[in-house]
Assembly symmetry: C2
Homo-oligomer: 581 residues x 2
């Protein structure tokens, strides 16, 4: 697109109330946007479409929950965010400006530094003589800046909390509650749609990099040992035939830049996607993004190399959409989080977050129970022993095992007990099942980025130069607009207007999002309704008050048809459901 078209696009977004930078009267805050009336409707429509693909049409496989944005420190300690959710930064020693070290080096030395240590980054800065781009000042030693918004919860100093950087942790910390509420069963998806905050160093690129945005996220919990078998039931032929474009690591390592297009089944058979549930959700995600009106050739998945992945992931694919403005942008991530998060929270909270996997029938076996070795504890801990023993006896055998496995010790009353202080007691028993820590696959979508690509792909110019937002009907902020076409005497004029308003109200009462417009000429009203991407513009004219019909004008074809007023609601409902533009 030409630069002047971008200007037109930006002007449209602002003037038609899709979005604008927040707090502009105060000079704005980078990375924060407001959504106006049309933008809010569009955003909510994208959410509903996501729910349709990821919740409603999953028929009980997925439930939605809502957990807080404010998160106590320990949760993000256990999740690894407090240690890993950082960007490397340097400060100019002359002017005090702070930069993302990786961006700065990339821009001024042309070197990719993703995955490098602070020491390595520092070496590059020194070797290449990277300076402050504003005043040429020397740069400080690089350090990690935490990307979490930090706050204090309650009136006491030091009770740290954060604005959550993802909704996922809410699904892990409440996992057992959800499991109990829905009747213990696996697999189960727990979805959440909500606000998150990431305190970016210097966000640019409009909606693409925000400090506050909405995530639509699904944590899908399953029994890893039955992963292939159970997912087969859900991986229908229709899904296995879904065509994906994937740039996977073998290709990347070999220097290939273009993704390969193939049906999902090929990628599964070749072992490109390591987990079949991950494959399942990638197929659903592909269908969802296409349903937004993005063509398949403008979508691909890129596998992340080990050093590019988040700290919790065993395999990650980014889903990218091509933006004419910003190049390829990541609109979703599909991460195989394994049991990393549940294990982390079990370790930090000492709560049991396992799932009891019942056997079809009990088996005879040896029940093995780990118990403290009283003799050696008494011998080595002397006067502390009674306290240590009373505390350690409160812990379950499962917990002891997990703790020894994870840390190599069990901590009670400030004392660390290594495995020498425990003995395994064995006895014959009927075993009814076992406790497992479910594995997790996570598809996660950035709503504002989706919104951005929807806006960009919808933006089009008709042959006469007029802007038309060609939204899928389901996404259009307003499905209809009602225009009275006033001509003739005042009484007639009044009658037409009254009828138009009556029709307008009827449509709103039938849950069809509609606006009413009597300003300016009919031509100007069409210009406006096209800029809102209204698929069906309804004109009420003199004929309407005489024969009870109105005109529907179709957005994309500009064709007009006359329809009886008493059939209008039904007609529009049918057109909307059939996505006819």
């Amino acid at each position: 697109m030409l630069e002047e078209q971008w200007e037109e696009f930006n002007k449209l977004l602002r003037n038609r109330g899709y979005l604008w930078p927040s707090y502009e009267i105060y000079g704005g805050v980078a990375g924060l946007y407001d959504f106006g009336p049309a933008g809010t409707l569009l955003k909510n429509n994208i959410i509903e479409l996501w729910r349709k693909h990821f919740i409603y049409r999953q028929y009980g496989l997925v439930v939605e929950i809502e957990t807080p944005i404010v998160t106590p420190q320990i949760v993000l300690k256990a999740s690894g965010h407090e240690d890993h959710f950082t960007d490397p930064v340097v400060e100019c020693l002359k002017c005090g400006r702070i930069y993302r070290a990786d961006h700065l080096i990339e821009e001024s030395a042309g070197v990719k530094v993703e995955g490098l240590s602070l020491r390595e980054i520092e070496a590059i800065i020194n070797d290449r003589g990277v300076k402050c781009p504003i005043d040429g000042g020397d740069l400080s030693t690089p350090k990690h800046a935490l990307l979490l918004f930090r706050t204090e919860i309650g009136p006491y100093k030091g009770t740290l909390g954060y604005v959550r950087p993802e909704t996922a942790q809410g699904m892990f910390t409440s996992f057992k509650h959800v499991l109990a509420a829905i009747g213990e069963r696996l697999p189960i998806g727990i979805a959440q749609i909500g606000k998150v905050g990431r305190n970016e160093i210097s966000p640019r690129q409009g909606l693409v990099r925000l400090r506050e945005f909405t995530i639509m996220e699904l944590e899908f919990f399953f029994d890893q040992s039955k992963s292939a078998e159970e997912s087969m039931e859900y991986l229908t032929d229709e899904l296995l035939d879904v065509k994906l474009r994937i740039l996977y690591n073998d290709l990347k390592v070999a220097g290939v830049k273009e993704p390969i297009e193939a049906p999902l089944r090929d990628f599964l058979n070749k072992g490109v996607i390591v987990n079949s549930w991950l494959a399942y959700w990638m197929a659903i995600g592909q269908k969802f993004v296409e349903s937004l009106g993005i063509p398949r050739e403008a979508i691909y998945f890129e596998e992340k190399l080990p050093h590019e992945r988040a700290h919790y992931s065993a395999q990650t694919f980014d889903q990218l959409v091509y933006s004419k403005r910003h190049g390829w942008i990541e609109v979703a991530g599909y991460a195989y989080r394994t049991d990393y998060d549940l294990r982390g929270h079990m370790a930090y909270s000492k709560a049991d977050l396992t799932y009891f996997k019942k056997y079809e029938k009990p088996v005879e076996g040896i029940s093995k129970k780990l118990v403290p070795d009283v003799v050696s504890i008494k011998r080595d801990f002397k006067e502390l022993a009674p306290l240590v023993l009373s505390e350690v006896f409160k812990l379950s055998s499962d917990f002891l095992e997990r703790s020894l496995e994870t840390y190599g010790y069990v901590e009670v009353s400030g004392v660390k007990l290594s495995k020498e202080y425990f003995v395994a007691k064995e006895e014959k028993a009927l075993i009814h099942g076992e406790k497992i820590v479910p594995h997790v696959v996570e598809p996660s979508f950035g709503l504002e980025r989706l919104m951005y690509v929807v806006l960009e792909y919808s933006f089009s110019k008709a042959s006469d130069g007029r802007i038309v937002m060609r939204f899928q009907v389901e996404l259009a902020p307003y499905k209809a607009a009602v225009f009275p076409l006033v001509t003739g005497r005042k009484e007639v004029h009044q009658k037409i207007k009254e009828l138009a308003i009556k029709i307008y109200r009827t449509l709103l009462n039938s849950s069809i999002p509609t606006y009413y417009d009597e300003e300016g000429s009919i031509g100007k009203r069409y210009v406006k309704s096209d800029e809102y991407g209204v698929p069906y513009a309804i004109t009420v004219d003199y004929q309407s008050i005489t024969d009870g019909t109105i005109t529907i004008r179709f957005r994309d074809t500009r064709n007009q048809v006359r329809v009886r007023i008493d059939e209008l609601t039904a007609t529009l409902s049918k057109l909307i459901n059939a996505n006819i533009q």
Copy 2:
């Protein structure tokens, strides 16, 4: 209700996945709750019902927007929150515990302290010998604790921001953008539904006092001089006939404890409600709360005395609902915020937030323009004068007037110019209109409190002791449940199940929220569906596979009817729309 019934109620909320305290595996955080699958559905249904009353059925009078939660300091400085949004606290000098001074004094000395100064509170503590209730320690001097969650935006130290305590400021800071997007017109309501944070000192009372919650808020902007006239168009007889129960200030001052019930028109005529738009939204709010299933006698409005009102309000009514558990609780506030907020933001941002009120036709008049008095500025500011003059000439006459009116001076380049430094230049002109600062009326609802009272009022026991959640159909998390009734041979069994699943999927595909349940006996499934408040439980049995009919069982009457499967979706849609339970 009896104590044991409360226990049952709480157990139900948790076990059926309505809600539970957040982060319980870490011991919980006071004032934070998770909403489970049923709770999230209920919450979203309340939001949709609110939108119906406050947005959709306002036919273009109200639009919805979305603005960020993270708010830069200056916005909450301009709004007065940084100075006024506090609670008085005292610290025990022995154990360091921090208390809300007003609560502590009320509990231990039985004195109401709302509206008292810190000095007065200190005097009461000393006079009454109020001590720490835990260890009897002396208390510190009371001070104001800010109830805002504080954070830093970006990497620079000291760039303060807050989690917003209300959504309202987003509507004020973006007011001009919205006005431009919808075509400049007044009156206009700007609504927002979103999360807010209030860092309460020590929240208790479950959902009633939260540190993070969802607000459904409407800022209604209007021309104060045309308030009565314009609202008359909207205050239909139907609304004027709405019966409200109000405890207004004259009654309160006279010691009356009970509200007076009367039609809205009486309260307007008596001048109880000072602004007719405020009256309009109170009527809408009354209808909305009743539509949640709360009986009229359990709702009343209480006018706030001047010292009880928020800093921005000229008249405020709280809307209260009676909770059997917590007594009367405030579910909404209706504040007449006047032009306080827009004026505050104009003063702090120097942006023009006025509305240009066009006259029907231009009038001849004198155009008065305020201009700097060059002579006196040069005389008094000497070498600073050129800088001062160049700055002050950049400001509009309107801004100069507003600033002089609000502060008594205009500040430029660190210099304060009082009105002596300006002269009014008058000339004959055609005046097309005038700039006005709109006034604002705000109805504001706490979603979780509404949810709480809905849950409490829905909770009921059938004569056989069974729990039934008697939700309004529109609010019920699930409208239907599908139960296969398996009897007979395995093949028959399988056929029934398949048919049940097919029906279940059809209902979900028709956007009817439904769950499927084949666990346990049919009796147990009804117990569960009643606890979810499912209005229509559908049983698929042997007869279903032979004659194509199923049974609908109604939640409240337990009546059962047989319906043809091919008419089920249509039948349910009709029942839902008619709110038949």
